[in-house]
Each structure stands twice: as C-alpha cells, then as structure tokens.
Symmetry: C2
Subunit: 233 residues, 2 copies
C-alpha cells in the first residue's frame, strides 16, 4: 500500500504544495492507488525525521522516498510496466531542465503573487512558521512582497512564452501525451489555483492562450484528479 | 554524400547561424561526414528554392531537408544505429520545450546585443538585406536596438538561470552526455561567440559560472569541431 504525505493549510481538503501535486500526478499517471495524508507545515518534520523535512514524502511498503523528482524516478524504476513518466533516458534528463526553468522562473514569479494568500489559508501555528521562514527568504514582510501584486500578475503570462511556443507544435511537454515534465509545470500553476484567486492566465480557446488550454487538459487527466480540489474563490 | 548549407558573412571561414550550428553538431554527433557550404544571406534563396528560404539546408543523396529540428529528426530516423540525438521519444518531445525556451528567451536577448556586430561582418549586398529585414522586425534602426547594449550584456547571464540550476545536477541537458537539446542552446551562444566580442558569460571553474563550463564542454565535443572557428576578436 502506498501513502503520500502532502501539504495543507487550515482546510485539509485543499492540499496545495506544487511539489506534492507533481507526485500526486505521477502516481495517478502510473495508475497506482495511494492514500494521501495532507499535513500542515509544522507537522511535516515528524513524518520521517531521518529522511526529509519537506513533502512530498512517499511510503511504499517499507520504502520511504522524498523529493518529487526522486519519487518520479523511483516510480519509473519500481513500476516499469506502468505508463512511462519520462519516455526514456533523454526525457528523464530533460525533465531536469524543465524543473530548472520552473524553479528559476515560474515558482519565484508565482510566489511573489500568492505568498500572502498561502499565509492567510494556514492554521495559526503554521502562519507563524510560514511568515518567519518566508520573510527571511524574501528579506521583507509578506505584505511588502505582494505590494506590486497587480503588476506582477500582469507580467506573469509572458514568462510562460517558452511553453507557449512549444504548444504550437504539440499538446504536452511530453509530446502527444503528458509526461512527468508536464506535471512539474502543472504543479506550480495548481499551487496558485488552489491557494489564490489571482487571475494569472487569459481565457483559452480560439484566439486565446494555449497555456490555459494545456492547463485545462492537465486538470482533465487521470479522471480529473487535480479538479477534486476546486479553484480558490 | 551529405552536404550542409550554412550561413556566412564576408568571411566564408566564419559560418555563424545558430540554427546551422545545431545541424553541424547533430551531424558530428552522428559521426556523419559532410561538406559544409557557407552561404551569404542573399544567396540562400537559390539553394533549394522550392524547399526553404533559410539555412540550415541538408542534402543527403536525393533528399533535401530544411529546419534544424527537422534535420535532427531526419538524422535520428535515417541513421538509427548511430548515437542517439534525443534519447527516446520523451527526449525528442522535451527538446521542443528547450527550443521554445531558446527561441523565447535566449535568441531575443542575444539578438539585441549582437545584431549590429552581425551586420558589420556581412558583405555589402547582405548588409542592405539584413538591415532592412531586421529593422522591420525590431521596429527601429539597428543602432537604436543596441543603444542599451551594456545593460543588456549585464542582464544576459541571469536569463540562463534555468540551465544553471539544471547543471547543478548533470553535465549536459541530455544528462551524462549531450543530446540535440544541448546543441539547441549551444547554437545560440556559438552564434554570439563567432559574431561578437561581447563578453556574455563570467569565467567558469571553481566558484565560476557553470554555464561557461558547459559551453566549453560543448566546444570540446566531436573533436572540437565548434572551435574550428575562433571567437570574434
């Protein structure tokens, strides 16, 4: 039996970690059943103290695996007869480039927009932890981080232009069908969708933003597992 | 016998097209012998008028193939027993994402820095063609495009942060060894190296920029084929 520890705020039915969503999508992609245990920030260190300080953490029988990419590689190696997450060794290597882009460009841009929304959705003990660690990381109060929020929202969509150019050629980063690299980028946008009501993407469809259409396609995958958590109101 | 048409300015010994360099590296990667025919801008339309208006153009026996990515896919399909350019279907799909990033981020940034240097290295007839088409594309005189050149050079290295994060994990975009995705990004930096003396990257080595080390590794590949053209003085 597989257990996946993810991250939640005050409402345990709304797990929101971008990295945990990558692991959820990877498990669903492999068609593996799992129990998800949404965990507040301050309870995470007790899950597997010797192994990891952050989620996702996967428990598969006696094996404990942490880090979303390591989890994907573990699933690929352990369940090779299930649908591939990488499409071969080149795809596994290049997923690290997609991860580099997501971490260098997409996560910082989203974080500056949604960090206060994330804070506001946490339980009080987690709010104190989150404010302290994030204000240290940003070097300023959360309220100052989001001071230019409207301008940051306006500037966001342009940062996804590499994805947009690619989508003119194929429906997924994985090609005709999705691979783990799609979930790497999807996880970031799902994080924002669940924690914040900020409107980050224009409408899709004819003449619209192909990134929006791709994101909707990802939400539809694997029985719509990513839609089980509604968008923030 | 394979012939590759590439792009040159007044000096035919200094072919500089980023896309043609991708094809040169792909041929060398496959270990295929080829004749390179560096061609000035205004002579390109006559190479294969019904097929392509831009280089690279590959002639392999009776087959003519244009577009660097299509050439790589053609070589992968036609010479499957040679070293792979994609590392499987996932790698081929994700190379399109790397191409999207290169075209959306790296090429525009470099172009704004080196466009006048490129112009200055062309023969007179090509200078007239180049100035007209590029000024139309930029919407201003070439001299105005490079007016903020020093600031653009200073800002350039930060745009490569996705590559830098990835290089903390593996030596090439292709993983332990290079794939076509490496040549996609390499081609852009080689374009700048050959046409411009602008110093775009800091030193590599311990404490230096890992992107510089990766670029040097690419210059060393396949017998140092990319070093046969010295850097612009």
């Amino acid at each position: 039996m597989i257990t996946l520890y993810t991250l939640c705020g005050a409402d345990a039915s709304r797990p929101f970690s971008p990295h945990a969503w990558k692991a959820v999508m990877a498990l669903a992609h492999k068609g593996l059943a799992f129990d998800e245990i949404p965990t507040p920030f301050t309870a995470i260190p007790a899950i597997a103290p010797d192994v990891a300080k952050t989620v996702p953490i996967l428990r598969d029988g006696s094996r404990i695996v942490a880090d979303s990419f390591v989890i994907a590689a573990y699933l690929e190696e352990t369940y090779p007869d299930r649908p591939t997450l990488f499409g071969g060794p080149g795809g596994e290597a290049m997923a690290r480039f997609v991860e580099g882009w997501a971490n260098a460009v997409v996560h910082p841009a989203l974080s500056a927009i949604i960090v206060k929304d994330i804070h506001d959705g946490l339980a009080p003990a987690d709010q104190a932890y989150f404010r302290e660690t994030r204000e240290k990381r940003f070097g300023k109060p959360l309220e100052a981080v989001v001071a230019n929020r409207d301008a940051d929202i306006s500037a966001f969509a342009a940062k996804l232009q590499p994805l947009r150019l690619m989508l003119a050629r194929q429906p997924f980063i994985g090609g005709a069908t999705p691979l783990f690299a799609d979930y790497i980028v999807f996880g970031a946008l799902q994080w924002a969708r669940i924690t914040s009501s900020a409107e980050l993407l224009a409408a899709g469809g004819a003449g619209g933003d192909p990134v929006t259409d791709w994101f909707e396609r990802c939400l539809d995958l694997h029985g719509g597992i990513a839609r089980t958590v509604p968008a923030a109101a």
